[in-house]
């Protein structure tokens, strides 16, 4: 059965936590997008401030994953990066996976390599919080 996919015109947000971003040295880890089922949130469903509140509730209330910023990317742009990735062209999709407390939640189900993850990170519009 084919899963529902977010259309290319949608914008999505990725929470950027301290584990993935050395803000002081402005270095990112490919871990931000590496692997399967990377969590993102859809700006079509909730506003930036509502998603930010959820990110903060998810992370800042725990002693574990402080939020350092958000990374925004257009779904179509994300897909182009995947297809154009020379080492291993990858068809990326964004699949809605609403959660209790975050109905904007979605995931990228494909297995993203470190190299592809870095290309996605380079394309993010990062907003420090």
């Amino acid at each position: 059965m084919e899963m529902e996919e977010c259309p290319p015109e949608e914008e999505v947000l990725r929470a950027i936590r301290r584990a993935d971003w050395d803000k002081k040295k402005n270095r990112y880890s490919s871990g931000l997008f590496k692997g399967r089922d990377v969590s993102i949130s859809r700006l079509r469903i909730l506003s930036y401030s509502e998603i930010l509140k959820i990110f903060r509730a998810d992370f800042d209330d725990r002693p574990t994953g402080p939020l350092e910023g958000t990374g925004q990317i257009n779904v179509g742009h994300l897909q182009k990066i995947g297809i154009n990735y020379k080492a291993n062209p990858t068809k990326l999709t964004v699949v809605p996976k609403p959660l209790e407390g975050n109905r904007a939640h979605a995931e990228i189900p494909q297995n993203i390599s470190k190299g592809l993850a870095r290309e996605i990170i380079d394309a993010l519009k990062v907003t420090p919080v």
Partner: protein, 220 residues
């Protein structure tokens, strides 16, 4: 001028043009431990501090207590090793002006490599619990940290040139990241049994053993 600030939050002992700072979790004392020869002696055991060459000693990120002439760092890294060093310094207390000497400095390559900022990140990652990334993300693997410490000790000189950042991955592994001479990313993830290496300039993802990791530093 050499001085010891009286505030408990941040104590600063200046050493020439540099300084020794004791972080917010520190306790410090003065005046009780005078020795006839050199004044107060602090035997510093545990983990310290870089860059020594610039005359800067910093204990930021190391919870420390000063008791009976011994400044004890409560969470010394397993990689800490001793070095015989002697530093003379003095301070102005609220009521006393005294001099002191550090008789032994224990050098920690981890601290020298990562600095207070990196050590602070590493310390924080140790407290991350299972599910730290939206329900995903394993807590830090002790075996990964062991590999990490071994790697840092083996390649301390090379890593000192690239001043890497430390990260925690969702697999619960530590990871170092830096740029090569072309400004391209190099990442080393410390799995318990091996290293996962990503070299952006070659778009190469490979697996290495620590013994074979020399090649990582051929381009720095």
């Amino acid at each position: 001028m050499n001085s010891l600030a009286s505030q408990t939050e941040s104590r600063m002992i200046e050493i020439g043009s540099g300084s020794l700072s004791i972080g917010p979790n520190s306790m410090a004392a003065s005046g009780k431990y005078v020795t006839p020869a050199t004044g107060i002696k602090f035997l510093i055991s545990g983990a310290l501090v870089a860059p020594i060459s610039a005359g800067v000693l910093s204990l930021g990120g190391y919870p420390a207590a000063l008791e009976s002439n011994t400044l004890t760092i409560r969470k010394a890294f397993p990689s800490a090793k001793s070095a015989s060093t002697h530093y003379d310094f003095g301070w102005d207390d609220q009521s006393n002006k005294e001099s002191s000497a550090v008789l032994e400095v224990v050098m920690d390559p981890m601290y020298e490599l990562l600095g207070a900022h990196g050590v602070s990140r590493l310390s924080e990652f140790r407290h991350y619990r299972q599910g730290w990334d939206n329900g995903k993300g394993a807590s830090l693997s002790p075996n990964s940290e062991k590999q990490f410490a071994t790697f840092v000790q083996k390649f301390a000189g090379e890593l000192g040139k690239v001043r890497p950042s430390v990260f925690l991955t969702r697999e619960g592994n530590l990871q170092l990241g830096w740029e090569d001479t072309r400004g391209k990313a190099v990442e080393v993830e410390f799995f318990p049994s091996h290293l996962d290496v990503f070299i952006e300039s070659a778009n190469e993802e490979t697996t290495l053993r620590i013994e074979d990791a020399n090649k990582l530093f051929q381009d720095i």
